[in-house]
Point group: C2
Chain length 125, copies 2
């Protein structure tokens, strides 16, 4: 699969895909005779995983570490697991923040609804 196809499939710019590869956020992609990237299914799996994690806000640095550990083989499974558990904790905390903020937003929006209602009542007088 070419970079153009991958870019469309995942809605990531070609620049971003090359950048991710350059910094080691995805394992390096094979080139064909002409030196052009040819993504394998394995590569696509990585991209999907990384895109999901980035979408939730996991830092690139942490994800690079995960990929690096992965490439070091079976000796690092424990470390990888711990890394994921740590990130899960962070995500749960983020979710709590968002929930709290959503409640406050709901409350504020409701009060705006009430005050708008009052203004409208005023207009009808």
């Amino acid at each position: 699969m070419t970079i153009t196809e991958v870019s469309k499939k995942f809605d990531l710019s070609q620049d971003t895909l090359r950048y991710y590869e350059r910094i080691g956020l995805i394992p390096s992609v094979n080139r064909n005779k002409g030196g052009i990237r040819d993504y394998t299914d394995e590569d696509l799996k990585w991209i999907e995983f990384i895109k999901c994690m980035r979408g939730a806000g996991l830092p690139i640095e942490v994800l690079i570490e995960y990929v690096t550990l992965f490439q070091q083989g079976d000796a690092t499974t424990q470390a990888r697991k711990e890394l994921l558990i740590e990130q899960r904790q962070q995500l749960i905390a983020r979710m709590e923040d968002i929930k709290k903020t959503l409640e406050l937003l709901n409350y504020k929006i409701e009060s705006y609804e009430n005050s708008v209602a009052i203004i409208e009542k005023d207009l009808k007088r």
Copy 2:
């Protein structure tokens, strides 16, 4: 209340507090005779609100717009309400992303648990 006290109360650096004021993210704070900031309860309310919103990731630009609208008075209540509704939408979307990612993380962690279990079984042979 002095900037030191506010900084401690909300766990925001003095630099951040001054920065927020400078860019109009909080309405400007009164100074005493010596030119030193003296935060009112009203100011604290704003800081608490902004801190909550920033904690959930609302962009500074949007929050500045909200503060600006607020300072323009009652004519902007409708616009402010719409702004909050829009941001609520965004937050709900963020939350969905995080939920999806949490599920994937849970699944991955579980598989690491299983593979570790297998390794341990191997060791016992």
